[in-house]
Structure formats: structure tokens, C-alpha cells
Symmetry: D3
Subunit: 335 residues, 6 copies
Amino acid sequence: MISTPEEIRLALPSKGRLTEPALALLADAGLPVYKPNPRQYKATIPNLPGLAVIFQRPGDIVVSVRDGSVDFGLTGWDVVAERRGANGEILALHPALGFGNCSLQVIVPETWEPVNRVSDLLGVRQQLARPLRVATKFPNLTAQFLGERGLQDSELISSEGTLEIAPDIGYADLIIDLVSTGTTLRDNRLKQLEDGQILTSQACLVANHASLKSKPEVLGIARQLLEFIVAHLRATENVSIFANIRGDTPESIARRMFTQRLIGGLQGPTLSPVITRQGEKWYAAHLIVRKDQLVEAIAELRQIGGSGVVVTPVKFIFEEEPEEYRQMLARLEAP
Amino acid sequence: MISTPEEIRLALPSKGRLTEPALALLADAGLPVYKPNPRQYKATIPNLPGLAVIFQRPGDIVVSVRDGSVDFGLTGWDVVAERRGANGEILALHPALGFGNCSLQVIVPETWEPVNRVSDLLGVRQQLARPLRVATKFPNLTAQFLGERGLQDSELISSEGTLEIAPDIGYADLIIDLVSTGTTLRDNRLKQLEDGQILTSQACLVANHASLKSKPEVLGIARQLLEFIVAHLRATENVSIFANIRGDTPESIARRMFTQRLIGGLQGPTLSPVITRQGEKWYAAHLIVRKDQLVEAIAELRQIGGSGVVVTPVKFIFEEEPEEYRQMLARLEAP
Amino acid sequence: MISTPEEIRLALPSKGRLTEPALALLADAGLPVYKPNPRQYKATIPNLPGLAVIFQRPGDIVVSVRDGSVDFGLTGWDVVAERRGANGEILALHPALGFGNCSLQVIVPETWEPVNRVSDLLGVRQQLARPLRVATKFPNLTAQFLGERGLQDSELISSEGTLEIAPDIGYADLIIDLVSTGTTLRDNRLKQLEDGQILTSQACLVANHASLKSKPEVLGIARQLLEFIVAHLRATENVSIFANIRGDTPESIARRMFTQRLIGGLQGPTLSPVITRQGEKWYAAHLIVRKDQLVEAIAELRQIGGSGVVVTPVKFIFEEEPEEYRQMLARLEAP
Amino acid sequence: MISTPEEIRLALPSKGRLTEPALALLADAGLPVYKPNPRQYKATIPNLPGLAVIFQRPGDIVVSVRDGSVDFGLTGWDVVAERRGANGEILALHPALGFGNCSLQVIVPETWEPVNRVSDLLGVRQQLARPLRVATKFPNLTAQFLGERGLQDSELISSEGTLEIAPDIGYADLIIDLVSTGTTLRDNRLKQLEDGQILTSQACLVANHASLKSKPEVLGIARQLLEFIVAHLRATENVSIFANIRGDTPESIARRMFTQRLIGGLQGPTLSPVITRQGEKWYAAHLIVRKDQLVEAIAELRQIGGSGVVVTPVKFIFEEEPEEYRQMLARLEAP
Amino acid sequence: MISTPEEIRLALPSKGRLTEPALALLADAGLPVYKPNPRQYKATIPNLPGLAVIFQRPGDIVVSVRDGSVDFGLTGWDVVAERRGANGEILALHPALGFGNCSLQVIVPETWEPVNRVSDLLGVRQQLARPLRVATKFPNLTAQFLGERGLQDSELISSEGTLEIAPDIGYADLIIDLVSTGTTLRDNRLKQLEDGQILTSQACLVANHASLKSKPEVLGIARQLLEFIVAHLRATENVSIFANIRGDTPESIARRMFTQRLIGGLQGPTLSPVITRQGEKWYAAHLIVRKDQLVEAIAELRQIGGSGVVVTPVKFIFEEEPEEYRQMLARLEAP
Amino acid sequence: MISTPEEIRLALPSKGRLTEPALALLADAGLPVYKPNPRQYKATIPNLPGLAVIFQRPGDIVVSVRDGSVDFGLTGWDVVAERRGANGEILALHPALGFGNCSLQVIVPETWEPVNRVSDLLGVRQQLARPLRVATKFPNLTAQFLGERGLQDSELISSEGTLEIAPDIGYADLIIDLVSTGTTLRDNRLKQLEDGQILTSQACLVANHASLKSKPEVLGIARQLLEFIVAHLRATENVSIFANIRGDTPESIARRMFTQRLIGGLQGPTLSPVITRQGEKWYAAHLIVRKDQLVEAIAELRQIGGSGVVVTPVKFIFEEEPEEYRQMLARLEAP
């Protein structure tokens, strides 16, 4: 009557700040998600035919991957750390997908002027003559952190709503919450402690260990996800450049390029002849340059006589088999 | 540094299906909430000057009232039952405000055709040869109910998101969740069990026991809240009627009215003379009638010669001191 | 396998300018519609327990009432006239519910300067040397009207979309469409013809003739709908007035009131004694006045020494059995 | 070619915090505005047939009334004070319509800790060794105020956008701006000066002096507007009460009522006999009570044996000709 | 007075699921539509200066192209099939633009359990002892299909609204409607018949036959539309790849590539020398690969010693004159 | 207490038609703006670390750049011309960013049929026997223009709201306002005068003269902004083409290309050998072509035997140091 699912499943965040960037990452990595109906919580990735996509809340994704009801999950590292449990079933395929950055912080009212470090909280606790009341949505991480800092008697209070208002309405003395830009803290007249960072987090890709180990088709999906995501992330950091450079031979041009820091490259440029009307000798150089070094690379090219520098975006850069995939295999084979 | 709040506080639901009706109830009861800024979580009731209003999630309201950080809370009975704790600090001032009706139900997939009663779940458990996995947001009520029905080994799974999709995606075998209209169940191909109702709920007004007992101004606010809410709820069920009835004397008209079921009333109508052009004898009768008996009352009036029946709405009906207020006083004085 | 519905049904407009006022009318008439779920097309009227409400497009409502799949329909007179057919099954219970006013008009481009009357279209037809191309959503009414005006050879063109753009894009030469405020015409540089009004329309209540005749419970619902709607519409046009007037006896005050146009009334005012501190003789007059004569009535009251004029709204005014109900019964009994 | 408008015109605020309450005030005063098309800036008040309504920005309304292109304007007192000019053409019909409350304040950054009074600004000016740069949308009121406080050399800077960010981005040193709740100030880390209030404002009704004086039909509209608005505003502060009181004669009941503070009234209650089944002597008292004294009035009624207190809202209370109208006539006749 | 339009016109869907993808297709094909005003139904394509764009409902587009009031239409094949008429004036330029996929299906209630094929409807018809009542928006296609299946006596019922509710409210027995994902059917507890597919459809580009034949400038626009759309659609299926491959000569590298399935290509790769620091022999290969074979192509490149595989998107791939254009010319010249 | 800002600042338009395209321009130019919080008016450009972004209204941006409180501003040329003042502090870095096109026009009612040129306004003024009343948001440009045309006695009227309604409501006789598409004019029944264009405008980049001259880091930012914006704008007008062309030698192919108008180019194509299976001689040509000449260039390529033409977009084209940068330097060094 109750059947075990046979399909391979990827859980994506159903709501909140991770949803849009997660869908965009997959689309940009050549794996767009097709959701036939906005009210539905199920979807497919037409380019990964064996895989079903479901949408869940970020924390529920961790539970699902831990229990094996889904095979892959794209969620925040914060909830993975909080809810991954001790059974070792959650394996991080890619720990840093480049979005959803935030950190878990100890946060107190601005009016607590002398309280700026975690150790100052010991004084507050003494002054109050009762355990601190700490509202948080991360009880496991919070209990461990407060325990290590001598505040193991604190009372943890869960909340369904916005934590930032808790100190003001007396729901708690302080809060331990995620911070991304700090604007919300400032708006609510709260402040972080200088050494109160418990964790930094960003979006990550996790998988169920047993699934990967026992089902070759799950391993195959893991490889494709990693290949495309890694090649896409690498591509977003680089551009392709064509530049015309005057010179008698490819070798003489290459020598000039090798004198420069960025356009020399590790290996060397592709150089193809330009056939000119008047017969001057020009060559077209093709090279890959990091985006954040583009201005400098242009300057180097101008330096050695380059002009007509055409920059085009790249969609993927595939190097050898991704490091992340090799690491995963190693961990699967670990005893 | 950290001060105890001195203001008297009422917590209202900040979000979801209770928010709008709660604000409407107070406005209709002559106690409109003034929220200076939509982004703020604080407000006032200008007609209850000593009272501060804060907005919290329904479940957090219970925690706040239990801990005494707020004095009054308007929230759902479901979360009161789940989270009220054992310390007796939560006192129900008005248990049934007439909105937010729902019930907590055991819910299984439609495809479980032979499973229709709670006892049928024992068979499912046996067939699965493992404990049932039950997703719920009400772990206390769920654990108690399942324990009473022989399912105490069930695994309770919490969820941040929509429970209705849990069975379909394998997150849980069945769910225990609130149901109001049943439409969402039907849309997700789920069904309730015949005897699976754990609790019925509607919006209620609760207060902190110690606050009421120790602070006279809190007791004063409690009385005003109850007076106006009770008088308003009574008013919504009645209308005021003026009808012209021909007759020689008020007494003869009243006798005719006393022969009827509804317009005779407990006490009797107010009758005032109508001065007519031609000098016929008419009297204007004024009476209060229940809305759901209006059609019948009109028929009775026509029966005894009434016409020109003018119906007007009423805003409040104040009888003696409200029953709910007397009950509260009694409980406060209980040892 | 396919069953005939047993429930009694009222169809309301599912979308467009009639929906909100229709729901408001029923709510104001004491018959609020309860729609458990915004995505659903079914609802109930808790105060009319035997009746199911469904939501359909205005034109489909006419088809449903004509075929008897629903018993009552609230829709626009325009679509009733267009689609009521010849079988006499549609019976108008209330022809003028006071909203949704519009008219069906012949509309031509502003640039047709010499064309201002329907007869001018004959010249256009001659000049074009081909039949006029007329876009409309009312082919039956249009064909009949154009036939009576000598334009029976016109080509009628249906359209799924906005008719107002048809002349400009050459989809048709002219259009026959509903007009309410004329703003859309002006925006699209179109104009009505002086004598081109084919029909005026407003929201109306219709019923299936056979249903009313054969099912007593349908007749009972019809009566209740009419009683409350008629009493509500009458109430919206009147207010209740209490005024204090000085005078020795009720009769002397009434005599003064009878000299005035509005406050004399047909029958006469209710007059009750005011007991004053100083013992002057005052009476409180209670009367019903039409809203659009309120200013004048206040002036008349001031004229005869009235003051402290308190105006209250009324919810229903029930006179004798509604005229509309009697007419319906008559038509049902017609051979 | 360019004609003077013949129609009488009322300008309403087209956008912002005054629009909705202005439309609500007129609707509640029995003068609902009918706007055939949401995109249009013209409307009518069906109950005031001679009057055209146009929608303009609050400041433009003042210009229009001053120049006579519109006859009446409903706008904020702030812009009237700023832009009314010196020609005396703007006459305030009703200065306080009860909404749109705000005040014009001198506002400085929170970080200017020692600056708390206007006189402290002289020190800032000295320290800066240059005139203060003051951003404002009220240059006339600002120049006058700063001149009176010894800051006449300040540089006034206009701005199209939100003034609150001006100090932070260096656009100005301080700002003079409208403040309603103070939340926006707090969010932008700004503060008011203790004695920096330049003006308090709320919505008001103004008219063109020459129009009123020369056109009787404009005077007629002015009277109707004032009658209904004043009667409505008075009604919103009161409720109508019916209560049953046991007593032998109306006079004995009235005597008991006269002993109370609120229910004695100035004049006295209306008392009508209640005809009871058992023949006890009861009377129904009808009186008008202020809303904010309702609780106390109920207590007084219970005190003298009243019960079944039915409270109904009132729509208008017309007393004598409104004071505001008499004042207007007086000013029109002033030399 | 009424002029024939001289401009060349393309009609695009004004509303619904085709609008956004149609605009996106044209923009991606280098022909972005410029709509100066969101409220307007007219637009231009700046890169096709002689062409005016109008927005119409999908079905009206077919009528317009058929009648020649517009020259080109982008709409769904479903409405073309339903409304193209018999005059041969509609010519399909491109029958499959790759979006708007759906099918026209016979749909019955889920509760009709034994009914699963069209032939089963004959039994239903017999059981009902009356013609089937079929609601549809495609009367022509429906009549033809039902006629071929022995159900020619069915009563076709048109509807302005959502067909899916028709069986439940008794408006019709079954429906014939477009289905894309099936979610709406499931939500409404309906099902398709196994052999009930009447038509499959997607977005297509159609033109007026006479326009193309008689006006050379229309033919010119047709060619440009087809060239860019075809080159764009081909580009969306491919990517451009640059890979560095070690080898002594271009020919030896090419030989290795020709041994592989995908990277051998029909013709062969472009190979350009890479000038390296250390003097090893490397060449850069440039080739075009189908997107859905990208993973495999990368594997093949790695296989023959390729690395640094850079993938870039392509915007257009122009081959010879498009096949679709040649077919159109052939049909125009057909007798 | 009040500090001068040390950060370098760029002001972007906070609201209206320039905001989205301005953010898009910077993003497309490789300088995406990162706004941590939608409610904030501050942002950063991660790729230009020393630069702070603030959001202001377009007109306020001019004031800020003029006063030096911000260093760079991206705003409309219309407000620069109106508010730049006479102190020469505003320097135009890039006068034409390619969006926000509009013009400042003299606009009169359509009903002024004989008024079609500015000189016709003299007659209107004479006929009115009073100065023209002109509503505008550009008083400086308006006063100068009207002064040059003999209308120096016109009364200029400012307005907070939409100017287009001013003539109709009598707020002004005519208006001088920005026009982009003319649709709004037509909707309001207004028309431009034939020779009434005062100014054409588009978005531009301006800077504070003193900042550029005195701060090298501001000059550095200016160069980077110009480099990337100019290279991006050039890229948007071109595409990169790869085409396979059969031929014995690169030179023979190049000769054929030089015979063509577009694909010959100024300098010449890059030609690389294609290694074919069958050994035919093919070369791949790489060239840059203007987008608006793409169709023609494809035709030329087909003409000389090209096929498999692959078009890819380009992100930047860097030529020599931008002309705009050199001009800026020249103006800075001017005495």
C-alpha cells in the first residue's frame, strides 16, 4: 500500500531568498527546471530525464536527504549544519554555490552599550540573576556555542516569527539569528557581537550517502550535476578575448605576450593570421582572461600593440573531471 | 540594563488567516487598532489608552502569555492547547470569538482505500513492519492522541512547510494537521479519518493568570475588552425593528403580539402612538429580534396587521455584567 | 451514471464588473455568500440553507437557467436579451437590481464625421459598394436591429477580444458594443450614433420557469430572495429620523408637521414624550424620509421648531408582500 | 477659443495619504464621489448635481483655488499655509476635517547629540563657518521661521525626492519636513528639535473668496457641503441608546436619570411605555451619548435599574445651521 | 472615408500563455518588438521598418489573416485549424515555433470509471437516452470529430468561461478542450480518453496568401522573418566549442577527431596553432555541437587529449536559404 | 560634528523611467550595482570598490553634482540643462547613453485648431488680452525659450502633478513638458507645435569638475566608467561572425571578401584552416559585423560561397582609449 519511491529526487528550496538563485543557477548551468504549474511542488529537469524535482522548505530538505526520501538537496549550509544529525547520511557534494551568503550571529540590543563580546554576556547573566533567555531557530548550533562559552544554562526559546522583534517585546533577552546585510539589525536597533559569529553559510548541494553508494544511476546524476555546475561557475569568472595584434610571426607576438603578467597565460594564446587589404602582418590572438582582471588585460594588450579587442561571454569551461566529483568518490569509498 | 516592561500588552496574530478577522472584531467592538506604520509590529487601541498592542505569530503569542511578557493574547485555540504548558498561567477569557474555525485531524492519502478509522492505522503499521512516520506541527497533541490509540511508537516529523505534500513526496506516511474547508485536502488527494478529529478550534482571548491577579489595571482592561466584545457579538445576532400596527390601545396590540412566537418577546414591546392625518389609531412597536428569525418575525407582524416594518442594525447589546467576566473572577479567586 | 442535480442552484457572475456588486448586494440584503476557497467556483449562502451557489460567466448563466441546470441566475439584462432563446423558460424575477448599468450601442470611428445617425450608415454601405462589416458580441440583437434599419446584408464578425480596436486595425468597419461611461470610446476615438441605442441593461435576477412551477422549495427560495432584496433596495433609499420638537400635545405637533411637504408623510409620525429637567413640553418625532429629500426634510423640521435631528441608516423596509413576487406568481399561473 | 469654465469645481487630492480618507469622508457624509474610470482625473458627486470634481496634487489644489480655476478644495493645511499667497482669495470653510494630521518640524541627524533646540543651530552654523544648508519642500514657511530665529542666512535647497536621506548623503545639513508618526525619522536616524515645530496641519476644506461672494450657486454648494460634513463629523462622535428601565411613571425614571452625570443629558430622555406580559411598569428610554463616554453611560444606566441596553450607530446629527457656515458668511460680508 | 490599410501588419497574441514567449522569440531572433505604451495595442519592430505590429486575441488573429486585414499572424495552431475556413487564404509559414504546446482532447469526469475510449461514449449516450451535451470552444473541430465517431447528434454548447467546471455543475456532460500539463484536469477530477486526442498544437507563423502573392514587400518581410527565426531556432539547439588539443599537426588531430562520433562533424573542425611558452605543439579546435550532446562531446574531447574546453552560446546559425522559405515560394506558385 | 564625505559617489536615478535602464546599462557594462536592501538608497558596485552609489531623483542628482556632494551622476540631459547653473561645475562625461530619449515641447489643446506654430501663440495672447499661463516643470528653459519668441510676459505656473490635465481643468492655457512617445498627449487631446521643440534629451553621465581636477582617484573611476560603458555600447551594435568558406588559400578567399561592401572590413578577416574529412580546402573566417547590416552581410557571405554562418553576441569591444575620456582630459586642462 505504501511504496518506496523509485524515482531519483532533487529537492529545491520552495520559498525565500534561495529559491530564485537556485533556479537561476540550474538554468545557467544548462539544466533549467520545468515546472508545469505554479501551484505544484513538483517539476522536472528536461536535460536530466531520470531526475524528479520537488520543492521543500530549506530545513525540510535536510531532513529528506538525511532520511533518504530524496537523493539530492540544494539548500543553505546553515540548516545542513543545524539538522544534519549524527548518522553521517548527508554528504556535501558542492559546499559553496556562490549565493545565499549569510552568517549565524549572536545579536543583542543596541542599548546594551557595554556588551560587545560574547564574554560580556556572562556579566549580563549575573546582573539578571537568572539564565539568559535566547530566541533562535538554530537550537542545536546555539546550545553547542553557548555551552562552549560558559552560558550552558541559557533558556532557548523557539519562535515561529521574526526574531528581530523579540528583545524589544520582551520575548527574549537576545537572539541568535542569520545575518546577511545587517540592514534589518540596524532597522531594529540591534547589533552583532564582535566575536559572536557561530557559522558562515551559503547555498550548497548535498546528497544521501547510501543512495550514492548503492545506486549507479544516482552516481551518474551526481556527476552530471557537478560537471555542469562546476563548468558554469568557472565560466562566470572568465571571458573570452579576441584581439588583433600586429607582428611578423606568431612566435614574435607570443614572445611579447609572455612578457606580460595576465595575457601570457599558463600555456599560451591561439594565434591565427589576419589577411589584410594592404598586406600588413597581423594576427588574431584568442585567450581566456579572468573577469576581474579584464581592465588590466586590456591595458597589457594595448601595451604590445593590440587593438580591436572583442570580449565575449562564455557559458561553460570544462577542465579535467571536477575536483568535487573526485572528492565525493573518495568519501564514498572511505570505510 | 534589561528592564521588565511596565506597559500592559495585548498580542494579536501578525500574519495569516486570523489577522484580518481579529482586527475587524476589535474595530467592530469599538476598539479599533491604530498601527502607525505597516512595517511596524506595534500598535495602540486609542480607546484603551493604557494598552499596547504587539503583533506576533499565533504560536508565539501563547509563549508570551504563558511567560507573562504579554498580558493578553488573541490567538487560535489550537496553538493554546498545543503550547499552553502545565504551569496554569494561561487563562481563557473568551473561548469562542466566532472566527478562525478549524479542527485538528488525522489525514491519510486517498489511495489508502481500506483505511478509514484510526484503528485501521494499526494494520498499516503492521504491514510496514516499522513505526508510522507522522508529520505534524502539533507534536504534543499528536503524541497524546496517538499514545491513546496504541500508536505510541510513531515517529513524529516536524516540517517548516506545507504538510499536505508530505505523503506524496515520502516525507511522512501520514499527517496530522488543521483542516478548515477540506478543499486543500481534496486538491492534494488526501482524506480525513472518520474518527480522527483530535481537537476543534476557533479564535479565543487568553490572559496571563498572575497579571490579572496582581495588577488591578490589567483586570480593568480585561473587563473593558470583555464588555465590548460580548456586547458586540450579541449585537451581531440581532436587529432592531420598528413596525406600525393598527389598534385601539397599546394593551390590545400587545395582547395580539403575545399570541405570536417571536414578536411576543420575553418582556414585551415598546409601543408609542402614531399621530395620523385621518385620526385612525396606530401604534409604533419597537422590538429586538434575532437575525436568523427575521423572516418569521416579519410574517408574524404582518399576521397581526403590522406594516412599514423598518429594520435597523445594532452595534452593541449590553445586558448585565458579562458571564465571561464573572467566570474569570471566580477562577482568579480559586485557591 | 450521470445524475440530475437535486440541489437548488443560484448562478452568480464569476468575473468582471458584475461580480463585486452582486456579492455586495446579497451581503447587504442579509444573504452573504460564503466561498470557502478563492479558487473554487462553488459557495453557499448560510442563511438560505437549501441553496447552492455557483459562479459562471454572465452569458453562461443565461444558458444554464434556460436549460434548467441552475434554478436562479443573477446576471446582466444584456446577455439575457441576447441568449434567452424562444422557449420561454427564463422568467425575470427582478429586472433592475440597481447596478451594472450600460447600453448596447452602434459605434463608429470619430473620423466618420458626417455619420451621426443609423440611417447615415446606408450611405457608407453604398460608398463602400460592399456589405458593412460589423464586429459584435451580440449577434442576435445586432442582426435584428440592423435588419429593421435596412442593413440586413451586413457581415457580422465575432471577436474574442476588445472590440474597440476593431475599426482602427481594419478588423471591422464599425462595432456594436456595450457602453457604460463612454470613456473607453473617447480613448479609442470612437463615437456613438445619436439613435443607435439598441438596449439598456442592468443587473437582474432570473429563474427557470419549470423549476418554479414544479418545485415548491424553489418557489420558497424565490420568495425569500425577493423579500430580502426588495426590502434592502427600499432601505437604501431611505433613512430613519428622530427629531425633538417643542409643543403642547402630540396632536398640535402633528398638525404642524402635516403642513409640510415631506415630513407630513402619508400616515403620520410616531410621537413620544421627552421628559425634561425644566418641565417644558417636548416630543420626539420618529419618521422615515427619502435620502434624496433629506436636506429639504431637515429644513422643514427646523421650520416647525425641530432640533437635535438624528439620522440613522436602515437595513430593511418590509412593506406588504413584494409586488415582484405577486407578478411572478401571476406569470406562473398564466396558461 | 479659450473659455472660462462655467461649472462649479471641487478639487480633491489625487494621490497620497489624503486621497482615500477624503473620498471616505465624502462617502460617509452622504456625498459619495463617482469616478467613472480609474484613469480619469474627473468625477462627479451624484448628490450634488451642479458640482464637478477634479483630482489634483495637494499643492496644486491651493494654486487652483487661489486663482479661482476651482471653487472648492479639500487639501492639507500645510500646503495652504505655504502657498496661499497674500491676495486673500483662499477662505477656510472647515479647518479640521479630522484626518491627515501631521506637523512641520526642524529635523537633524541623531548624531548631532548636543543639538536639541532651535537655538543650538546657531552654534552649528558658527562651527561650520558657513550658512546652514536646509532642504525643504516648504520654502516660504521655512524662510519665515528661520528668519525669526536668527538663521536668515541659511541656504534653502529644494528636492524632488525623499528629504530624509538628505543629511546622510550630504545633500543638506538638516531638513524641515512633515512628520506624522516619527517612524520614518527613526528609521533614518534623524530627530526633531524640542521647539522645532513650525506648524500643525490636518485636512481642511477651502474655497475661493470671489466665487463665494459673486455666485449664489457656489454659496449653495458651500452650505450643503458644510451641513453634511458637520452633521457627519458630529454623528461619528455619538451613538444612539435604547434602554429599558423599570419605574412607575416616566417622571420618576427621568428624575433618577437626572441624578447621573451622562445619561441625564441637557434636555432629557424620550420615554415610551413598554407593554409587558405580566403588567410590570417599564419604560424605554432613548438618548444620545458620546462614544467615548459609552462605558460610563452603560454603568449609570445599570445603576438606576436599566437593562437591555441597545446601542445603534447614527449617520448624521443636524443641529442648528452649522457654526462654520455662519462664520463663512460673516467673512464674506467683511469689508 | 474608409480606407484600406497600406501598412504591412503582423498580429501577435494580446493576452494569455502565448504572449510572453512570442515576444521573447522575436527579441531573441533579433527582432525585438517596441511597444511605446503598455495600454496600446500597436507596436513596431525597429529592425523591420516597414512592418506594423498589432495585438489581438489568438482566435481573432486567424480571422484577420484570413480576411487579409493583417498580413502575418503568430498564433496557436489550434485556433488556425478551427477557424482557417475553406478559402485557402491562410498559409502556414512556420508550423512549429517551439512553444505553446497543447492538444485538443475529449475529457470526461473521473467518476465515469468504465468510460475510457471514445467508443465508450456511445454507451453513455444510450444510457442517457438523449444526445450528449458537449461544451467546447472548438465547435468545428469537435463537430467533425464527433461525426466521425458516430456521435453526430451531440449537442454542442459554447461557453464564455472555464470549461473544466461544466460537467460538475451540469452545464454539459463532457467537454472537448485544450490540455497542456493535465494539472487542471486532475484538480477538477476530470480525465482524458485514451484515444480522444483530436489535434496537437503549438505556436505557428501564418500569412495571407494573396498578400504574399501580390505584394513584393510582404514577400520581403516574410523572408526576413523566416531567415531570423529559423537561424535563431537552430542556434538555440547548438553551442560553439573551443578546445585545446595537443598534436603534431592539424591533420593528425583531425584524424583523431574523426574517430569520434560527435566531434568529427560532417565537414571538420577549424584548427589554429596555439603558441606555447615551452614550445609544445598544441592546436585550438573550434566546432559546433548540439546542446543535448554536449556531455558526450566533452567526453570525446577528453578522450583524444583535449582540455580547456570553452563553451559559448550562439545567437544565429545561418545555413542556406531556409527550407521553410522555399516551401512557401512553391506553394505561392502552385496553380 | 558635520563631516565632509570622503567616499567617491555616483548618484543614480531613484525612481521613474531612467532607473531600470540605468541599472541595466551598468550591469551589462560589467559593473552591476549591488543593493543590499530594497528599502535602502545606498548601494555599491563590487567591481569599482572605491565608489559608493546613492539613489536620488533625477533633478536632485544635478544639484548634488553641481554642489560636489556627489562626484558622478547618471541622469537625464533635460534636468542637467534646466538646473546645471552657471558655475561650470557640471562636466558631461558621456552625453548620450542610448536610453531615456525624450524632448521638451510646447503643447497646446487639440481644440486650438489654428494654432500650429509658436508664432501663432502671439495671436492667442492678443485674443486673451492677458499674458499666457504656461504650466511647466522646466522654468529656466521655458523662460529663455518664450523670451526669444516674444512671449516674455507669460506667467509660468509650477505643478506637483501631471501637467497634461492642466489645460483641460483651466490650471494653465498651455504646457511645456517632456514628450517621449506622444501617446499621453493623444490620450489627453493635446498636440505639439511644429516648431515647438526646445530640447532633445537622453540619459547622460556627468561629473563634478573640481572633483575630477583635484582627486586622482576620481579621475581613475571616471576612466573605468568610460572604458567599460563605451566598450559595452560599441559591443551592443556589433556581432561576431564565423563562416566557413571554400577556397585554395586564405589570400584568395580574402580577395573575394574584399570585393564585398560589408564583409571586406577596414582591415580584413581572420582566416583559419578547416581540416576536412575528404581533404577539400576550406577556411573559417572570423569577422565583426554591425548588427543592422547582418542580413546584408549574410547575403554577401553566401555570395562568395560561405556557409555555416555562426553568429555570436559580443560583450565589449575595446578600441583605443575612449574619445570621451580624451575630451574630458582636455576640458579639465582648459584654463
